[in-house]
């Protein structure tokens, strides 16, 4: 039954693109982990916040209008202008830089040299805060995000494959774009972290805050830098996911899809995020495809984790993660 | 066996200069080779440790001394060679199984349990002597409690012995370097080991403290008959304390013998001592 084969191929192909979308979120995690040893729980909320800000700016929404209205009994909603996307994206980026700066100033600075679990906890506090803050700032309703990326089935591909194989393959154009953007991100981030002085400093900070300080690396600058880059990655992820399903609270939950990817690829590896994403994407889709008749669907959530777990048992640091140094 | 002839003694032991009687073989390392990828940390080394002896291992940095201790305590598994413990070839063992044979150690980079108090750290050293089961402990039943008190008494003796009473309840992370070293020694002693491995126990101490430490080591050896293998870079200490010395360089053994023999061994002087050490 060749059809079954083509279906499976199509499922795998779509798994690949889904994996790219996961990887986009995972990249933000990797960056911050690599640069400071912090497991940034707030990455998902950052993506949400970035997307909310982008939409808010595009639509000329007045920030905090709900709060202001509640307190002063005013009727504020909109500035009455629409910001063009090309302006709104840099403006959002500025907001994310300000956010990175605030995170360093108000939180990280006070937690130098603490254990990873404590820094992790701090990012949880941050996630809570940012979630409430984002809602108060921009409101909790579903928002439509459109930055002009194409969406929907790629007709050309379907046409072409139909001509060649007698079966038209389906791929979402948005996913194709996502793959391109992700590839660009991965290449530039890898170059940055592997071949620049700053990149080396990032890795040094992740190993030992105190020693990094002692050689004159400014933790403050490094942290603002990485959080700003992570903010940028969050914005990209927010745009891609937001274009798919609107911008609202659930966007922050995509972080959960990034975790197994991260684990599989290794917390410290930028290319690992992509490879992990692809493996998880294909793996979970095919697993669901083949086993749905037997055990029922909706296995994606746990299968991704189980797959990652299975790999970890053989490589405890993930596929490309830095080996955990065990010495006495 | 590649022992140098001078250091070879009759198998039933020997009498040291200060009159202590050293027994038979406790541990023998036979043709140990240990590699990490391309790095050869230990190259075909053999030596032995006798019962009741103080055995020093010296050598330049990166010679493979710590790796040797790691082999003895089962943390590294050599690619070649055998470890003979009490006359029997020791099978490949997990470190905790080795600990149960009565081998305790301290570490070059202090490896204390930072979140625990000094007392708890030392009590952990007695783990191999504790028997109470999970349920007994949970209910704090007679035997569990009795065992705890009994072991606590022993630990308190060690605490007195090492004069660390005043910091008993302090979390070790807060201690200065030297005291940490002492707590680590206490933890190893608490195991009442047959063989005590010390990796640079006196690094970071001043002369006065080294004198104290030396005294402790000698007393442990004296009072409990514990065999000691130690790595140390302070030649004064090594030469004064040890009965026999192994010298390593680049993973190879370049000397083995009494302190006097080592002091005058030209290969050792070239590779390590620099000047003939008095």
């Amino acid at each position: 039954m060749p059809d079954q084969f083509y279906y499976a191929l199509e499922v795998a192909l779509n798994g690949l693109t889904a994996g790219v979308m996961y990887a986009l979120v995972a990249l933000g995690f990797v960056l911050i982990f690599k640069a400071s040893g912090i497991f940034n729980f707030a990455q998902g909320v950052m993506a949400l916040f970035a997307a909310l800000t982008l939409v808010g700016l595009q639509d000329g929404q007045i920030p905090f209008s709900h709060l202001i209205n509640a307190i002063f009994g005013t009727e504020l909603h909109n500035f009455g202008w629409n910001m063009p996307t090309l302006l709104a994206i840099p403006a959002t980026m500025l907001v994310m830089v300000a956010f990175a700066w605030a995170v360093e100033r108000l939180i990280l600075r006070h937690l130098i040299n603490q254990e990873p679990i404590i820094l992790f906890m701090a990012t949880i506090g941050l996630a809570y805060f940012l979630e409430g803050f984002g809602d108060i700032m921009w409101g909790a309703e579903v928002k439509r995000l459109d930055v002009g990326l194409p969406q929907g089935m790629s007709g050309a591909l379907e046409e072409f494959t139909f001509q060649t194989f007698g079966y038209g393959f389906y791929l979402d154009r948005l996913d194709i774009w996502a793959a391109g953007i992700a590839a660009a991100l991965v290449v530039s981030l890898t170059l940055f972290s592997q071949y620049t002085k700053q990149g080396r400093a990032l890795r040094a900070v992740a190993d030992d805050h105190q020693a990094a300080l002692s050689v004159g690396i400014s933790l403050r600058a490094i942290w603002v830098l990485t959080w700003a880059i992570a903010g940028f990655v969050a914005l990209v992820a927010g745009i891609m996911w937001g274009s798919k399903s609107g911008v609202q609270f659930s966007l922050s939950l995509i972080a959960l899809k990034a975790l197994p990817v991260l684990m599989l690829g290794g917390f410290t590896s930028i290319p690992g995020a992509i490879v992990g994403g692809l493996m998880i994407g294909v793996g979970e889709k095919l697993f669901d495809f083949f086993l749905q008749p037997v055990i029922g669907g909706a296995t994606e959530n746990w299968f991704a984790y189980m797959l990652a777990l299975a790999f970890l048992v053989f490589r405890p640091q993930g596929l490309f993660g830095e080996k955990i140094i065990e010495r006495v | 066996m590649t022992q140098t002839a001078t250091s070879e003694r009759p198998d039933d032991g020997y009498i040291t200069q200060d009159g202590r009687k050293i027994g038979g073989m406790l541990m023998e390392m036979r043709n140990i080779t240990l590699r990490f990828g391309g790095v050869v940390a230990i190259k075909d080394i053999s030596f032995n440790i006798r019962e009741g002896e103080i055995r020093a291992i010296i050598g330049p940095n990166g010679a493979g001394k710590s790796s040797m201790l790691n082999v003895i305590s089962g943390f590294y598994h050599p690619q070649e060679g055998d470890v003979i413990f009490r006359g029997e070839k020791r099978p490949r063992m997990k470190p905790y199984q080795v600990a149960r044979l009565g081998i305790a150690r301290t570490f070059q980079n202090i490896a204390l349990f930072g979140g625990m108090s000094v007392l708890d750290n030392i009590m952990t050293g007695r783990l191999t002597h504790m028997r109470a089961g999970l349920v007994q402990q949970a209910l704090w039943w007679g035997s569990a409690q009795r065992e705890e008190v009994k072991n606590r008494e022993k630990v308190e003796k060690i605490i007195d012995f090492l004069e660390i009473q005043h910091i008993r309840k302090t979390p070790v992370a807060r201690l200065p370097y030297g005291l940490k070293k002492r707590v680590e020694l206490a933890r190893a002693l608490a195991a009442e080991p047959k063989l005590l491995l010390l990796d640079e126990p006196m690094a970071g101490m001043n002369v006065e403290e080294k004198e104290d430490m030396s005294r402790f080591i000698l007393d442990v050896n004296d009072e409990f008959g514990t065999t000691i293998a130690l790595i140390e870079h302070d030649m004064g200490v090594v030469m004064d304390l040890s009965d026999r010395v192994v010298v390593m360089d680049y993973g190879k053994k370049i000397g083995d013998g009494t302190p006097d023999e080592i002091r005058n061994n030209q290969a050792v002087i070239d590779a390590y001592l620099g000047v003939a050490h008095d």
Binding site: I112, K197, R200, A201, R203, A204, A206, D207, D208, H209, Q210, A211, A212, L213, S214, V215, G216, I217, S218, L219, R220, A221, I325, R327 | D18, G59, P60, N61, G62, A63, S66, S67, Q108, R174, P176, Y177, G178, L179, E200, A203, G204, M205, N206, V207, E208, E209, E211, D212, S214, R215, H233, D234, M235, G236, V237, L241, Y272, L273, G274, H277
Partner: protein
């Protein structure tokens, strides 16, 4: 470079500082030091005396251990540097080699050394030359330069840490127990390097050292700390000749060096302060 001819001007002045850890543990109870420019100054003292704390208070690394300087001032070239960030201090020329090595485990030895040059702005060529110099000082590091620092031996890590500090071309180095864990030959060698840098480039050293013997041979002045206070200070020769120092720090009795085997009692420590 600095003009090494005037060792009498004060480079660093620590005025009566108190250091508090975690808001409750008072580790330094009023420590004052002066470090002359172009000199080698040693801080001596037993375990827990507060040597490391003093150095970290100067380099302000104390902050990252939840400690703070609650009283007093630290003047570097006449400027108060309490509260200045360690990164700024490195740029000003003060760098610390921390006790216990603190290498970047996952970085290779060479990368570790290169991070030392992080604050430098004089180009790759100069950095490469200095890297070469460090390898010359520590040939062992050259052999291991591609290994991850986490897998090198204790002594190799110590060399890496010292080499890393040298890479920043500092004016002043705070060395915390540089000889710890190093083979005797290397200890001498390190101090020779210290001396050479001091002589040739006028680098000022402040070192905490347990190996009093060597330290006092190379240092110009020394301070002795006990329980967070300075109990004695003076020139190195004067300290060397002091009978108490001789007995407790140099291990010499009237009859010359005594054997570690002959020490009989533990409780002999003399307190300068009751």
């Amino acid at each position: 470079m600095l003009d090494a001819g005037r060792p009498d001007t004060t480079l660093l002045e620590v005025n009566n500082i108190e250091v508090l850890y975690n808001h409750v543990i008072l580790a330094l109870k009023g420590v004052s030091l002066t470090v002359p420019q172009g000199g080698i100054t040693a801080i001596l003292g037993g375990n827990g005396a507060g040597k490391s704390t003093t150095l970290k208070a100067i380099s302000n690394l104390i902050h990252s251990e939840r400690g703070e300087v609650t009283k007093g001032s630290v003047l570097y070239k006449g400027q108060n540097i309490v509260g200045k960030s360690p990164a700024d201090l490195v740029s000003t020329g003060v760098i610390q080699v921390m006790e216990g090595r603190h290498c970047f485990e996952h970085l290779t030895v060479e990368e570790n050394l290169l991070t030392g040059a992080y604050t430098r702005r004089d180009g790759r060529g100069a950095t490469a030359a200095d890297l070469e110099l460090v390898y010359e000082y520590f040939p062992r590091l050259r052999e291991r330069r591609k290994s991850q620092a986490g897998y090198t031996s204790g002594g190799e890590q110590q060399m890496t840490a010292i080499g890393r500090a040298l890479m920043s071309r500092p004016e002043m180095i705070l060395l915390d127990e540089p000889s710890m864990g190093l083979a005797p030959q290397l200890v001498e060698q390190i101090f020779e390097i210290v001396k050479r840098l001091n002589d040739e480039q006028g680098v000022t050293f402040l070192l905490a050292e347990q190996n009093t013997n060597v330290a006092l041979r190379y240092a110009t002045t020394g301070f002795i700390l006990e329980s967070g206070r300075v109990v004695m200070e003076g020139s190195a020769e004067a300290l060397r000749e002091n009978p108490d120092v001789k007995e407790f720090y140099l291990g010499m009795s009237d009859k010359g060096r005594k054997s570690f085997r002959d020490v009989r009692s533990y409780r002999r420590r003399k307190r300068w302060l009751a």
